[in-house]
Structures are given as C-alpha cells and as structure tokens.
C-alpha cells in the first residue's frame, strides 16, 4: 500500500520566517530576530530554521568568508520555491477560513 503523502504544515514562527525571507530575499539568524520585532528569539530561531531546512522550505549556505577576520562564517538562509508555495497556499487558506485575516 503506498504511503500517504503528508500535507506540509506551517507553524506561526515558520510562517513569519518565510514572510521575512520573501520580504528581504536572504537573511542570517540574528537578522531574523531583529526584523521580526520580538516575534522570534535568539536560540529558538536557529532550531526553527534547522527544522524548516529539513522540511525543504528554506535553503542555506555559508557566506564566502567572514566579513572581518576572526569570526566564523555566517549561515545565510533563503526561501525555496516549495517554501514560497507553502506560504502562499497557507496565507490563501487562512484568508478563506478567517475573513478578517490580512485586514
């Protein structure tokens, strides 16, 4: 019997991260925290980003070289086409379920 395909789901934090990535194109961990205006906290943001990468919603790479000598290279995140589609579908579904959504 073929396995039933799982419908992708988005938590509030995941949705916020995708919205920020759509708005800013690419960000690193602490930029999410700053841009979210307390919606995301340092510590939890990296766990959420890791989980979203596992789900295929976002992709990441290490910056070429640290901007200044001494620091480790930062990991930069970008939304994948799947992530953008999921966010779009999720937003549309929320709009239909809750008429006030987005007003």
């Amino acid at each position: 019997m073929p396995r039933k395909a799982r419908v992708p789901t988005l938590s509030r934090k995941e949705s916020l991260i995708l919205e920020l990535l759509v708005e800013h194109e690419q960000l690193y961990g602490l930029e999410f925290v700053a841009a979210s205006r307390r919606g995301l906290k340092r510590g939890t943001v990296y766990v959420t980003l890791g989980r979203m990468e596992d789900k295929g919603f976002i992709t990441s790479w290490l910056e070429d070289a640290p901007p200044r000598a001494g620091g480790l290279p930062r990991r930069i995140y970008r939304a994948t086409p799947l992530g953008r589609r999921v966010l779009s579908a999720w937003t549309e579904m929320a709009r239909q379920l809750v008429p006030q959504f987005g007003r």
Binding site: G29, Y46, G71, L72, R75
Partner: protein, 299 residues
C-alpha cells in the same frame, strides 16, 4: 544538529567581535551572556525534541527517568558551579566577585560536570529500575550529553575562556592553546608538523585528543554505571559512595594519563583515551555478571 548550533555560534561570535571593534564595552559583555544562553537553549531544545518521543511512549519507566533527570540536573549544576568557582577563586590577585566572569567559566566546567551528573543520575535515579526501556533512555541521554560535551569542548569553552581572559586583563589578548577551537587546534598541529615533521606538537596533540575523548566520556561512564546499577538493587546506600568513587576515579586516571602524555611517556592519543578504554574494558568484563544477576541466576 550541526546545522542548528553552528549558525548560533557564528552569529554570536560576529556580533561580539563587531561590538568590540566599535568599542561598545557593555554591549559586548551583554552579547557574550546572551549568546551563551542562546547556545545552551538551542542544545536543550534539540535534546528535548529528540527525547520527547521516547518518553511519551514509556509510561512505566517515566518516574524513574524523571527522578534520574532531576538528579542529573542537580548534580551537574552543583558540580559545574564548584568547578567554575575553583579557577575563579584561584586568581593570584584578590578580586571582587563578578557574576559575569563566573558565568564565563561555566562552559569549561560543564563537560567535566556532565559525566559526574550522569553517573549519579543512573546510579541513584535508576537503582533497581533497570529495564530495556530505561537502558535505552539512559543511553540516549548519554549520547545527547556526549554531543553537548563535544560542542562545549570544541567551540563554546574556547570562546568563553577567551572572553574571560579578555575581561580579566581588560583588553584583547592573543588566544592560548585552550582558547583554540577544535578545528583551529587541529590546524595548528598540522602547521607545526608541516614546518618541522619531527616536531611532535605533543602538548597540542594531548589537548586535541583529550577534547575528543572527554566528549565520549559521558557515554562510557553511563554504560559503566548501568552495569553497576543492574547488579546493585534498589538501595542507594552503596550507590552514593559508588558515584563518588567512579567520578573521582575517572578524573584521577585522566589527570595521571594526561600527565604521562604531556611528559612523552605515552603517545598523546593513548594518554587521552586510556581512561575511557579502561572503564570500557571493565564495563565489558562486568557485563556478563550484571546480565546474570538481571536474569535471576545469581543473587
């Protein structure tokens, strides 16, 4: 796990270096503190994620595991505080107590405290309640502890050691051997050997291998404690001295074999791994005795 911890460390380090370059003294110290909390939070969240499923499906052993977890937290916390206090208190010049400085010493104390806490948790918390489920849960916890130790020894402790030195001296200073990350330590050894192939880079090699070996120690001591507690019954009268004996025995053995390696009496690899190998061998030797007892053949 690496994908979650590595960006935390990179952002923390870059944010700290930026604030130091901009001369924002107090901000840089706040960043050190907040960054350390963030790393610990990430590691704890990963551990919770991985253990939540197992615990949810293990109702019979939940109380024993909860007790063991509480003992682990209490003993590890106490041991960390004591081990951080010792070097803080050993400063040659009397200084007022600075909580922030003390916090910066926690990462170097944490990997030594973890095996002590884990041994106590198993010997005192799981005494007489060793089952396949508790063994699996304890070993899962030990693996998580090993990963936490590895991250702390490899990256977190060197970074916080350097922050402590900078804070005590009052300005940026060059990093010492203990302030190099695991990767940097490996690179430094290669550079020394490339410059002079006959150079043993002994001290650095001992430090390098000891960090790897200490990362595995929680798992080794957990297995040793599980074998002991499988035989010891429900009483904790003997398990308390056993905890102290195992922990201090391992620490003394590590100090001795490390000293032998530093002096060149044994190779660095052996000096670092000998305590783990000794305890693993004793565990393997005691295993049949413990299994026979559990099966009810003995005692």
């Amino acid at each position: 796990m690496e994908r979650r911890v590595e960006p935390t460390l990179a952002d923390w380090q870059n944010e700290y270096l930026d604030s130091v370059r901009q001369g924002r003294y107090w901000t840089s110290h706040w960043i050190q503190f907040a960054g350390m909390l963030a790393v610990l939070k990430v590691v704890a969240l990963i551990a919770l994620e991985q253990s939540a499923y197992a615990l949810a499906h293990d109702p019979d052993s939940r109380w024993a595991l909860a007790k063991a977890t509480m003992i682990f937290g209490a003993v590890t916390g106490t041991a960390t505080a004591v081990l951080a206090w010792i070097p803080f208190n050993a400063m040659p010049v009397a200084r007022p107590i600075d909580l922030q400085e003390l916090l910066l010493l926690i990462p170097q104390a944490f990997p030594v405290a973890i095996p002590i806490g884990l041994t106590a948790a198993i010997l005192l918390g799981l005494a007489g309640r060793v089952s396949t489920r508790t063994i699996v849960a304890a070993l899962t916890g030990a693996v998580i502890c090993s990963m936490m130790s590895f991250l702390t020894l490899g990256w977190l402790a060197p970074s916080s050691n350097q922050a402590y030195r900078t804070q005590v001296i009052g300005h940026e200073i060059a990093r010492g051997d203990n302030e190099l990350t695991l990767g940097e330590l490996g690179t430094r050894i290669e550079q020394i050997r490339a410059f002079d192939p006959s150079a043993p880079a002994r001290r650095l090699s001992v430090l390098y291998h000891t960090r790897w070996a200490l990362s595995v120690t929680p798992l080794v001591l957990a297995m040793f404690a599980l074998v002991l507690t499988g035989r010891s019954g429900r009483t904790t009268m003997l398990n308390l001295p056993a905890t102290l004996l195992v922990s201090s025995g391992f620490a003394l053995l590590l100090v001795w074999t490390n000293n032998l390696a530093f002096r060149g009496s044994v190779p660095p690899l052996l000096g670092a791994w000998l305590p783990n190998l000794t305890f693993a061998t004793v565990t393997a030797a005691l295993m049949p005795w413990s299994l026979r007892h559990r099966a009810g053949i003995v005692g």
